[in-house]
């Protein structure tokens, strides 16, 4: 038979273990709850891979037959993000531009149409006499962020660059452009 002091000690240890288990379970439940809420109930864009649908997207999608690449999918979502970046640059690339909603020219679309970008894409990777070197499409986009958009340069890998290229590629496909295609001046 254990002396009373030892019995007290065992009971204390048991209570401590029980309390720890309850805390662990509560934390796990909290994390699981947060994950479920974030993915299913929050509606916050950062927590899910769908892209917010901005005004004009459905028309753009139909006009350029983006559904050729599937109704949904990684490529189409990237094109949609590209659309948001071009037409709502101040909102979707706020890290890379100082332009705000109140500015008049606050998006790529202020200077370029989607077709401009498609032609720019198929004519990229060419020598630019002004810069004295061969310039890729991505570098042009980066220069736009730093120059006309009065902001900062994203990395080459950033979706803020990549998704604009993908949008240009989707539009170039719709227009059935080949490499180096020249725009007809009708």
């Amino acid at each position: 038979m254990n002396p009373p002091a030892l019995q007290d000690s065992d009971a204390r240890i048991e209570r401590a273990h029980s309390s720890t288990r309850r805390k662990t379970l509560a934390m796990a439940g909290l994390i699981a709850g947060f994950v479920l809420w974030a993915h299913l109930g929050s509606g916050i864009p950062a927590f899910h891979s769908e892209v917010s649908s901005e005004p004009g997207w459905e028309k753009f999608r139909a006009d350029y037959r983006v559904d050729h690449f599937g109704e949904d999918g990684q490529f189409v979502r990237a094109v949609q993000n590209g659309y948001n970046l071009i037409f709502y640059t101040h909102k979707y690339a706020s890290r890379f531009t100082r332009k705000a909603a109140s500015n008049r020219a606050n998006s790529c679309a202020a200077c370029h149409t989607a077709e401009d970008l498609a032609y720019g894409f198929v004519n990229s990777d060419r020598f630019d006499p002004k810069l004295g070197k061969r310039v890729s499409f991505e570098e042009r986009v980066m220069r736009c962020y730093a120059g006309p958009m009065d902001g900062f340069i994203p990395t080459l890998y950033d979706p803020a660059v990549r998704d604009i290229r993908l949008l240009a590629r989707a539009v170039a496909h719709h227009l059935q452009l080949s490499e180096g295609a020249l725009r007809r001046r009708d």
């Binding site: 990777d125 060419r126 020598f127 080949s178 295609a181 020249l182």
Partner: protein, 369 residues
Amino acid sequence: MSMSTGKLTKIVLLVLGSVGLYLLATHQHGQREAIRQAAVALTPACVEKLGRYGLARSEHYQSPYALQRTGASIAVQGYGEDDVRAIQRGCNIIDDTQGSLAKDPGRERWNAPRFIRGTHVSCDHCHQGIGDKQDVAGNPLKGSLSLGASWVMADMYDRFTGLLSPFEFRQMQCYINSSNGYKPNIADDVIRDVTAYSRFLSAALELKIGNHYDEQGIDEIPASATPKQGDDYVRGEAIYKKKCANCHGPQAFGLETNGRLVAPALAGPNAWNMQSRNYFYYVSTILPGFICRNMPLGEENTLSNQECRDIAFYISNLPRPAGDRQGPLVALQQQILMTVLPPLMRLTKSAGGSEVTAERVLERDQSRP
């Protein structure tokens, strides 16, 4: 006093170090620019290919290939001198990645072999016809890994990496896995020049952005495209000996003679690694597709689907380098197998059978009309 002197010394050393690094970087940039500006000595195959496609400095470019085949050709944006040189260097890299035809491989191929382990790999081994394989009549061949067709379909979702894979990423994967080597920087000239060449090919062939062409990628062969006899190692070995060993060697370690590569390794230290899509256990449809559509050279499309799968299965059972995901134990195991197996196999085969040598292959090649 001594403390402030120590601090001052550290600051001076730091400044001197920074200035030294800056000067070194400037020097390296200068060297790279000098290479970009230098005239390009083309390989004989590139002379033929680029000459046929009419690559020259001009305001507009019209494809002689399209003109000849369709009677019409669309004028597109032409190429400046820098663009032409980039395309020429890209062609050289694809045709002769190791620089064996170059006077100074370090300068003329951007030292591409530094991204490759082993001495066999050249892009042209998989992307045959310098990335633009055609039949005698000039028709692109199905499943021939055309670089031009690959460029127009770049950026699509890649089921193996889960990425929207740009053309440059695909090249990096080739260096890492198919060449069992190292990843170049995305902006490295070795990547950019190959992209320039691939884009020129798509212009010369008048391919449209986002369209799928038969010559793009591999014509994959799944088990469902066979009579489902099961992929058989023994059957694969027999077909390999009959159809492939003459060039690739009895143990598939490739053949070299007098320092010249006769046929690349399909196994062993010079071959692709276990993370490559060519590795049957990783992707079982790609290597059979490549074999059926591109091998044996000059006799393409003569093997049955089942034979291609059997050969691929057999080759993939031979030892080869481990990839990034296999870990050190598998790497060690493969290294031991690559070292121990060849002498053992020679020993067991020495009792009978004819040994294929590079000399015999060359004799055979020379006796061809």
